[in-house]
């Protein structure tokens, strides 16, 4: 009996260890930021609402930034829906060669280094290097603002490109799970393809639209890196946090971070509440609908008869323009700018001069690469150590669902607010364990890496049917530990590896949070932003291309592992 108790004790200790790791590394920073704002309310109040010098100017600014960010996020989500719905429909119901490549591209949008992507978009749409080269002038100015929505065009473009995968992937998953019989039944009852979509498929997919939309919303709300590159126009809330931190206005910054976290959390909670109450949405019966119904049905019938490729081409075209084209342009432009600025012919405007000339950006870039890799390796390693046992706890214990739920928090916290929270907790004004620099970056990256490693591992766990195999191993005489080591871990290996690569890629590309906590240990993505701000555009171009190429290679590795 003593042996049993001993092993139980070890088990309990292990669980406790993982829980502590989860709490300390992953959850505490966010909670601390929230509690900081509440406990230091007096200081915050004075800074924000009653500054002796500037009165409530800070509050006015916060309102402005927050309003703008919200507007941008809502606009991005609306556009995500407009082109994500047909794209998801296309991916869910069509078999065609190159489909997995298309899915990779959508995946790429999730892990692409945002500041590099910002440079790519900037290059594609302004100046003469991108599309502008074809028509002989800049397509849009950076300052062009989309009418009605009142958000800068390029902001919107970047935010859509970085958020639409959330909509497409959740919706595609839902559509693939949906029994094809519903659509077929509707068709046999006399409804055209369009009517079927409107009356059957769409209502059934609404929950997925909500959950994908809210993730996209949160991501847009927190997007920092790409927006900063385009940032001359209007600062968003996350950018304001970065600026305030660099000006040591921590109280004001933390209050804005607090508001961002609260906004994202409320959005998610609302959606969850909505979805919990009803997983199936019934459309209300409107009287006027039945009156215009006849016309609507006729139009839908006509549209259904049209060649189906129209909407496919439209959504694929959008995908190409906002995601693929910038990547091609940035990779291509490195060659164009290689030796000299193509427009002026000045050698000083060339990539070579900037990298190896007096400013010696090559050296800086290599140093930043080293820092980036160092951060990515350590934070991914620690995250994996926390995430893999957490997967066991999530799947084994009844409270696991709650744990999984809580672990979504780091995914929705806007990245610069996340950086700020880590800075506040571990940095000089909090526990004072470390100052801004590489360790603080690592602590920040662990926070979002844990859920990133966890999701593919959970998927592998569920897909492989681990519990039954472990059960078999136990009946054949394996101890619980043996069963995990000899049966489960080998089966989970691919899932864990996939998660590790994703988290590594994400860490390499992270911009917003890193900016806040990096001090003088610059990683590559913030370096890109710095280069843009220092007007060293060719250097930024090279660094972006380099980052994007790196993440492409990692993504290919990821797909290779997942598919096998």
């Amino acid at each position: 009996m003593r042996g049993l108790t001993a092993s139980k004790t070890v088990g309990l200790l292990a669980i406790l260890g993982v829980l502590i790791g989860l709490f300390v590394f992953v959850l505490m920073p966010t909670f601390y930021l929230i509690s900081f704002t509440l406990t230091q309310w007096n200081e915050v109040y004075i800074d924000v609402f009653a500054n002796p010098l500037i009165g409530d100017t800070n509050w006015q600014q916060i309102l402005g930034y927050l309003g703008f960010s919200l507007r941008l996020a809502v606009a991005a989500v609306i556009i995500d829906f407009l082109f994500g719905i047909p794209l998801a429909y296309f991916l869910a119901y069509r078999r065609f060669p190159g489909k997995s490549f298309l899915e990779d591209i959508i995946m790429l949008s999730l892990v692409i280094p945002t500041s590099g992507f910002g440079v790519a978009t900037l290059l594609t749409w302004t100046g003469l290097s991108g599309i502008g080269g074809l028509i002989g002038r800049s397509v849009v100015e950076v300052t062009y603002v989309v009418p009605l929505m009142n958000v800068p065009f390029l902001y919107l473009l970047v935010h859509v490109a970085l958020t639409f995968p959330y909509v497409v992937r959740t919706l595609q998953g839902k559509l693939e799970d949906l029994s094809p019989a519903f659509g077929q039944a509707s068709r046999t009852l006399g409804a055209s393809a369009f009517t079927t979509f409107r009356k059957i498929i769409f209502p059934l997919a609404i929950p997925a639209l909500f959950s994908g939309g809210v993730l996209a919303f949160a991501r847009s709300l927190g997007e920092t890196g790409a927006t900063m590159v385009l940032g001359g126009v209007m600062p968003t809330a996350p950018i304001a946090i970065v600026r305030w931190v660099s000006e040591f206005k921590l109280a004001t910054a933390s209050f804005l971070g607090f508001l961002l976290i609260i906004t994202a959390t409320i959005a998610i909670l609302l959606v969850d509440l909505l979805l919990q109450k009803r997983s199936v949405f019934r459309m209300p019966r409107w009287k006027f609908v039945s009156k215009v119904g006849k016309c609507v049905l006729k139009v839908e019938k006509k549209l259904s008869g049209r060649p189906k490729w129209f909407k496919d081409v439209a959504s694929l075209g959008t995908l190409f323009i906002i995601v693929i084209l910038p990547i091609i342009v940035v990779l291509f432009s490195v060659g164009v700018y290689w030796s000299a600025d193509p427009d002026t012919g000045r050698v000083q405007g060339g990539v070579i001069y900037q990298l190896f000339g007096p400013s010696n950006y090559f050296n800086t870039l290599m140093r930043a690469t080293l820092t980036s890799v160092y951060v990515a390796v350590i934070s991914t390693y620690i995250a994996a150590c926390i995430a893999v046992p957490s997967v066991y706890m999530i799947k084994r214990y009844r409270a696991g669902g709650l744990l999984r739920y809580i672990l979504r928090v780091p995914l929705i916290v806007p990245s610069s607010a996340l950086g700020l929270s880590v800075l506040l907790l571990w940095g000089p004004s909090g526990l004072n364990l470390t100052t801004p620099g590489i360790w603080l970056i690592i602590l920040t990256h662990i926070v979002f890496s844990v859920p990133v490693v966890m999701e593919p591992t959970i998927a592998a766990y569920e897909g492989a049917g681990i519990p039954s195999y472990e059960g078999v191993a136990r009946t054949l005489g394996a101890t619980p530990y043996d069963a995990v080591e000899t049966v489960s871990l080998p089966m989970l290996k691919r899932g864990i590896l996939a998660g590790v690569i994703l988290s590594f890629t994400r860490s390499l590309g992270e911009t917003g949070a890193t900016f806040v906590v990096m001090g003088s240990d610059v990683t590559v993505p913030p370096l890109v932003v710095n280069m843009v701000e220092a007007l060293a555009f060719p250097a930024a171009l090279f660094a972006s291309a380099y980052l994007i190429a790196l993440s492409l290679v990692l993504l290919i590795l990821f797909r290779f592992l997942v598919r096998k």
Partner: protein, 370 residues
């Protein structure tokens, strides 16, 4: 006039590697209850789905009535389709499900209401019209699905394993209800099932499919009494197969010499050549069973190896003197009673046996279900 005609219909999947339906010709008559049966993977469901327009054929033509519908989308074919898994729209209540067809066809409000009410009353679910599908039992859901298919005004009803997901008891009740509805409303029905007993019980005619081909079309009686192929003799009901050689033919009757030189006679000859290998098919219920000493026509001797009491019937597994094994089924209340290891005589009427050519691929391969 909803008759269905299929001409040279073919469909393959996975770039031609899997041939699901291979040059099928079929005619379903107006107001007929027609069943397509066969083992899983035989192409029966694919055929039905092609009639509905849910699967596009690779070649061939489909006529519903006089109309060529091969290239029409499902919504323009005027059919009713009933799915195995009901496929009731979970985002609508019973009433909206049943009136879905009239709604999307933009029928007048009054007509819509009337038809919805009639159809629901017909399946005795009018009092549940505001229930959501998830609250109903399987049998109720299928009745709603049935009335939904009928409410759209189709005269051709296509049923894809409609009873497959239901419990045995409900399955038996509902199959007669479906047939009655089809007959009362003077519809044509094409019913796909792998359950031959179900098809036998409700169909006017049945087509037996195997590996993408139609083997035989006929009434349930025809298929049972005159199977044209060994496979059908086994698939419709069951049969004992005894291998042997044709030793003599005279008029309609052949003398067959089984293994161990046991001589029997058979009247339904599907081959006619003397001296060839043959397979004799006799249904378990065609045998008579008696004590060893008794005389029977076409008598064979053996020992009862095992007895299974199945309620209505008793199954005897008997090893014949030539070491062939057969199954004999007798009614439990037939008056006779045997024990295991009893030595017995079995006999059968030559009229109730069938003689087939020995299949090229071998008997076992011929009977395979896959």
């Amino acid at each position: 006039m909803p008759e269905v005609t299929l001409k040279n219909l073919s469909k393959s999947f996975a770039k031609g590697r899997i041939v699901a339906v291979d040059k099928v010709d079929l005619h379903v008559k107006d107001k007929e209850y027609f069943s397509l049966i066969g083992p899983s993977g035989c192409g029966k469901t694919t055929t039905l789905r092609m009639i509905a327009g849910l699967v596009e054929p690779d070649e061939g033509e489909i006529y519903i009535g006089e109309r060529l519908v091969t290239d029409l989308p499902p919504e323009d074919r005027d059919i009713g389709y009933v799915f195995q898994q009901y496929a009731l729209f979970p985002n609508m209540d019973v009433w909206d499900n049943v009136t879905y067809g009239p709604t999307v066809k933009a029928w007048e409000e009054k007509k819509r209401e009337r038809i919805g009410r009639e159809m629901l009353q017909m399946v005795r679910l009018y009092d549940r019209l505001d229930a959501v599908p998830q609250e109903l039992s399987g049998g109720m859901m299928q009745r709603v699905a049935l009335s939904r298919a009928l409410a759209a005004g189709a005269e051709l009803l296509l049923l894809d394993e409609p009873l497959g997901a239901l419990d045995a008891k409900i399955r038996n009740e509902l199959r007669y209800e479906i047939r009655k509805l089809v007959k009362d409303l003077k519809l044509t029905a094409v019913h796909v099932t792998h359950d031959q007993a179900e098809a036998m019980a409700i169909s006017d005619r049945i087509a037996v499919m195997r590996k993408g081909h139609i083997l035989q079309v006929g009434s349930p009686y025809d298929l049972y009494m005159n199977p044209e192929e060994i496979f059908i003799a086994n698939f419709i009901g069951e049969s004992n197969f005894l291998e042997g050689k044709v030793s003599h033919i005279k008029d309609d009757t052949a003398q067959v010499s089984l293994r161990g030189d046991l001589e029997v006679e058979s009247s339904n000859i599907k081959i006619a050549k003397k001296g060839e290998r043959a397979v004799l098919a006799v249904r378990p219920e065609a045998f008579e069973l008696a004590e060893k000493t008794q005389k029977l026509g076409n008598a064979l001797h053996g020992v009862i190896e095992r007895i299974r009491f199945e309620g209505t019937d008793i199954r005897y597994e008997i090893r014949l003197v030539n070491d062939d094994s057969i199954v004999v089924v007798r009614p439990s209340l037939g008056g006779e009673w045997f024990e295991e290891n009893d030595k017995v005589t079995v006999g059968f009427d030559p009229e109730k046996s069938h003689l087939f050519e020995y299949p090229e691929k071998g008997l076992r391969a011929e009977l395979e279900l896959e």
